[in-house]
Structure formats: C-alpha cells, structure tokens
Subunit: 230 residues, 2 copies
DNA sequence: ATTGCCGCTTGACATTTATCAAGCGGCTGG
DNA sequence: CCAGCCGCTTGATAAATGTCAAGCGGCAAT
C-alpha cells in the first residue's frame, strides 16, 4: 500500500489524529484490493471479517428477503462501511456489490477492536462515527415510512442539487434502476414519478436533471432537516 | 433514588461491571421521574439533554413529516433509549411519548460522555450497545422495505409468539392502532391484514391471538434471522 | 454499418394500501 | 343504568404502487 493511499485513508475523520504506530497496527494484515464492477463483496449472512474503506469507485449495500431485493444505501469514496458489523463481531447484515470498478481497503475487523482497546481517542471517534451512522439509518427509515415515492424522489433531487453546488440542476450519480431501488420503488414507478414532477419544473435529459422551479418543488417535497442528509 | 432502583439500572448490560464511583458520577444530576400516560417526553428537534432509561411502563418513539406521523419503535422496560443522540450531542431525531404511566431515569447526556472518557471498559460496552441499536434500525428498515404489510404482521406475530413462550398464541402488548403505526399501516389496514391471516390459523379475540397453524403462517411470513429480532 | 443487448419508458392492468364514512360494542363517568 | 366516548371493524371507493408486455434508442461488439 502506497503512502499516498495511506494518506487518503488517514484523512477520514475516523482515523485522523491517530498515532502512527496505532495506525500501523490497524493496517497489519489489511490489503487494498481492486474489484471490477458488479462484484459481490460479501453477503448479509457472512461473518464480518473486515471493515471496508471505499477508496475509489462506488459500492451498493443491499438486502434480500421474500424473493425481493432492495438497495439500502450507496457508498461513495472516501468512506468506511460496515463499521457497526465489524465492531459487533457478527454477520454483515447487508450484502455489498461494486457498481463500478472500485478500490477497497480491507482492514481485519479484529484489528479495529484491538486498536480501539488501546487507543481511547480512537474509541471516542468510533463512537461518534457510529452514532452518525445510526442517525443515517434512522433518517432513511423515516424517509421511507413517512413519505410517498414522489416525495422521496423530490427530496432526493433537492439534496443532490444542494450537494452539486445549488445550480438548479444535477447529474444522477447512479443508474436510474439503482436510484429506484434506493428510493424504494420499481424502475417503472420512478419513470412515472419523474413525469409527476414535470409540472414542478423538473426536466429530465438522461442522467441530467434541471430544476426550474425550486420553490414549487420544495412545497411538494417538504424537506426536513431531520430526514434529509446535509 | 433508592438502592433497589439503582440495582435495576445497573443490571443493564451497558452499566453492569461499571466501577461504583463511575456509576455515581454518571448519576450526578440524574433523576428518576414518573410520567402519566400520553405525555410527550421530547420532540425530534430538541437538543439531547438526557439519556433515558425506561425503568417501568412503556414508551413510543415516533416521528413526523409531511403531516404524517409514524411509530418508529416501542421501548419496554428495562432499556435505555436515545443513546446515539446522547453520544452525538445533537438533536434527539425522534420524538417520544409515554403509552402507559412510566418511570424514567434521566441521565444528563454530558455525564455519559464524561464517564466514557475515563472508563474505557464502559466505552467498549457503549460501542457494543450502539452497534446493536444500529442493527436494530437496519432490521426495521429491511422489514419495511422488503415486506408487504401482511408479511410484516405475520412476522410480528411469530416473533411475539416466540418471546411469549412458544405457546401457539400471544397477547398484543400495545393497542392495535399503535401496532398498526409500528408496522407502517393504517388501523383499517391492520384489521384487514388480520382477516387475511385467518386462513393461516390466526384467530383474534381482542388482544389475544391464537396461532393454530404455525407452519402455514411461516410459509407466508418467510421469517429471516437477518430481519426479525430474537 | 449492422446487430443485438440493455436500460429506460409507456400502456394496460392488477394489487396493495389509504381514505372516508358508518356502525358496533365495550368501558367509563355521571 | 345510561350516555357518550373511543377503539375497532367493515364497506365503498380512491390513490399509490407493482406487474407484465411492448417498444424505443443508445451503445458496444463484430
């Protein structure tokens, strides 16, 4: 693993400020691996052997039940995933697949627990990170439980618009079928939801979306600081 | 606060094995309060001042959005709630109300963070607890995203049956309208879902439910160890 | 350039879930 | 004992969402 790659990982809030020797202990037995697109990294019932750090690419966390499959969340670099599972020393709870060619650092879950025991500052950062992850899932849960499909799409567009620089438009970062699954609907229903939003100034051109009437869209979406991420 | 009450709190995995002086530091400024039923304890946007421990009674965590309200989870004694919020030092994220007369120990969130910094064993236990809470929400999220209303009800009945001693029956621990909200449906729809389950041996008499054909019910429910709690 | 695949869209239709309205029946306060 | 409230149920209907089938159009391999 190159120094430049180590620096990328170190730049994460979770690992920043960690003593160099602790960082090295953690990386012992870790490896940075490159995966092609559409590869399943692990399944929900597998035992959690590694904390994953997505260095480059894109990863989808999903789950299966009753012959259905649903996207739970999308991971974008640079970010860790399955932290809670690595700490609880049980199953992953979610399956993961790459959506693009991805570089992933795999840190033995055991190392995380080991370093946490001897570095109370790292333990503190882990707790904060975990608490934030927890709130992320709570947000997602509220989103799907309290909003209709059209409302979820409208709010998604507003969040992406903000993240991409408030330019009254955005580029979808994933295929529409993946977006549909993430928003908890079928691809057909997503197409229709986009049509429903047309009167609210939403113009679709492939993956490029223009938002020409933000205030009307917000009236429909009723964005909430307690549901929508920053 | 009486010694017997302290013992109840201490019996929780989170606090067990904690040094007595650390336990006392944590309880400084804490108070055990009795609330009548139907009282709102806090709202989702409020700043998290206290970690709550439900000693006796029943509490509902819920959320509002778009003029809708939904039950997120039910707390039964003895258990802590809003741990993640207390650790993250932000808003509660969820609102809470009592469903019955309840006794609640309120521990200043600050105390938790303080003791965690000086008791690495407690920090460790907090992490495990938080990771379990995290998986609880992930389960709830999968449940609502991958199952229909009837399936959610069927699985709920199977879990309650197991928890209440595998006697081919159970008593609903909450009003049906609350159960409906927790399962993400209207009370009308819950009534109809119960009717749908009649051919699967589910007999309803008020709050008392008999399950006369577990194997058929399981075929419909398709219970999953990765969704349904233990 | 052509072919075939694949993601997306659209239409028709089915299913699921919610809404509105009415009524039943137990419980409780007077 | 009775009235009224409230939780629950049922029926009728509407809205939301999913399913199935067909077709369009870009893109990549040949």
């Amino acid at each position: 693993m190159r120094e430049s790659e180590k620096e990328i990982v170190r730049s994460l809030p979770l690992f920043s400020g960690m003593a160099p020797d602790h960082f090295e202990i953690m990386l012992k037995g870790s490896f940075l691996q490159k995966f092609p697109a559409t590869v399943v990294l692990f399944s929900e019932q597998d035992h959690t052997d590694f904390l994953h750090v997505l260095v480059d690419g894109q990863v989808e966390l999903f789950a299966n039940a009753n012959n259905r499959e649903g996207t739970m969340t999308l991971i974008k670099p640079v970010a860790t995933f399955v932290l809670a599972s690595a700490l609880a020393d049980g199953a992953y709870q979610l399956s993961a697949r790459t959506l693009q060619t991805s570089q992933i650092l795999m840190i033995p879950a055991e190392n995380i627990r080991e370093v946490m025991a001897l570095d109370s500052d790292f333990a503190q950062k882990t707790i904060v990170e975990l608490a934030e992850c927890y709130h992320g899932v709570v947000r997602a849960y509220k989103n799907i439980k309290l909003r209709t499909a059209v409302e979820r799409l409208a709010n998604y567009l507003l969040v992406q618009n903000r993240r991409q620089g408030d330019n009254d438009g955005l580029v979808l970062p994933v295929e529409k079928r993946t977006l549909a699954s993430m928003l908890g609907m079928t691809p057909e229903n997503l197409s229709r939801a986009f049509n429903t939003l047309k009167p609210y100034g939403v113009v679709i051109d492939g993956a490029e979306i223009s938002l020409n009437n933000l205030s009307d869209l917000e009236t429909l979406a009723k964005p909430s600081a307690h549901i929508d991420a920053n």
